[in-house]
Amino acid sequence: MTVMVSVLPILIIILLVTGIGTYAFKSHKKRYRSPRRMKWVVGGYTILLFVATVLSYTFFPGNPTESISFSEEEISKVENEQDRMINLALNGTLPKTDGIFTKKKTWTFPYEEKDLKISDKNEQEYHANVFVVSKPSDDGVIEAAHYMGKMIVDGIDFTEKKNLPKINVEESTLRIKAPEGIEVNFTKFSEGFAFDQFTRGQSLFSRSYFSVHGSEFILLKVPKSVKVSGDFNYVNME
């Protein structure tokens, strides 16, 4: 059944081309010129296409993706760099985040307790790595920062669309709440694979719909004497 459905368009094309071709040729033999109606149809259709293309470019130009889109190589590089940095941090060293992660928001909480628990009870469908740095002194302040890597969907950067988590400190517990969910729907248009082959260096089979979901982490700087418990990793900053 599936085979029949996939073959159906080809059969329709064969029937139409053969039918129209034969009819046109026979009618030509009778009159020794192509039927006037056919000329009008082809001419009219061509004019319609020209008008549609002009309208498509002028009145409905679409949202250009050129300025904000990334190539497959760029996305692969971004993803690898994000993974490399997260892995380094999980092993205890947080390198400089320039260009790979952006600090999206910072919080400061005055804190005089000796223990701090990092809660994950409210983290529904949300997990961010938490890295903790012990400050050299007891300044009575917990500094939290949310870092976000680029989030690219099908070559388009959606980092700015992503909401931020909520962080607060209550009774010696630091709570990280999941950000509000967001759903993005969009449509992409391409003139066809023959055009893509020479515009963005995508060959016929490498036209994959590449995305990187964007890693994120929370960096906590806690006073020297505060003992932290929960799901986190201590790191040294480079």
């Binding site: 046109a24 992409k188 003139e191 055009f195 082959q197 089979f205 979901h213």
Partner: protein
């Protein structure tokens, strides 16, 4: 010694002009095929979606891929039709020989491919416009092509169609030599595909498509397609020499 010497090239040109007028039905069928392909494309040519934590996305794709695929099949069938007896014998209204007839056919098929290639690009924009108006698709994102990129894309489209046309011409000529080929060619083709897919890793079509589709330089794609097409035309001409002479 004749009163008026006519060169072969003059006859080729005359036949070509004649064919442009008399084979006009080819363009009518192109219009029907493109309209059909445009309507099929209105449902979108693909979609993808995913989610990451609290972020989810859905992407719909509209493209001219289906239109080009339909037109390539159109080119293939059109070339086969042109090799049929009814069309071939029509050439004898002129003082001609087989070579002249072939050259005028190739010129006509080139023109048809050129027209088809340009209209494929234009009809992809008709499809986009219809998607906005009929399907009420908002916020379509598209690559802003430069004039050079458009010209390159149209040229590649024309070349792909011309490639299929040349294959069709060769296949058509084979069938004209022996009707048995009209059965053997599809059976052989499907048989090859089945054999190729037996190990769950079909490579035949992919290898062929990659040979052309992975080419990033238009000049090289041009060389590849013209060489392969020329090979098919030469084979078609050689095969046609085995056909019986019209009495």
């Amino acid at each position: 010694m004749y009163l008026a010497e006519v060169s072969s090239w003059e006859i080729v040109k005359k036949q070509y002009r004649y064919k442009l007028r008399s084979y006009f039905g080819v363009f009518s069928s192109l219009v029907v095929i493109q309209i059909l392909a445009t309507f099929f494309s209105l449902n979108g040519t693909g979609m993808s979606g995913g989610s990451s934590g609290t972020f989810s996305y859905n992407v719909n794709y509209y493209s001219g891929d289906l239109i080009l695929a339909f037109v390539m099949i159109w080119g293939f069938i059109t070339a086969i039709i042109i090799t049929t007896k009814a069309y071939r014998y029509d050439d004898y209204s002129f003082v001609t020989n087989r070579k002249i007839s072939h050259f005028s056919n190739i010129l006509f098929l080139m023109s048809a491919s050129l027209f088809a290639g340009i209209t494929v690009f234009l009809s992809s924009h008709l499809c986009r416009l219809l998607a906005v108006y009929v399907k009420h698709v908002d916020g379509i994102m598209m690559n802003q092509l430069t004039i050079t990129q458009i010209l390159k894309g149209v040229s590649a489209t024309v070349l792909y169609i011309f490639l299929f046309v040349s294959i069709g011409y060769f296949v058509g000529m084979l069938i004209q030599v022996n009707r048995l080929f009209s059965f053997l060619i599809p059976v052989g083709f499907i048989g090859f595909l089945i054999m190729d897919g037996l190990h769950n890793d079909p490579t035949l079509l992919q290898t062929i498509a990659l040979f052309f589709g992975s080419e990033a330089l238009l000049t090289l794609l041009f060389v590849k397609i013209i060489t392969v097409s020329a090979l098919f035309y030469v084979l078609a001409i050689l095969i046609s020499n085995r056909m019986e002479v019209r009495s």
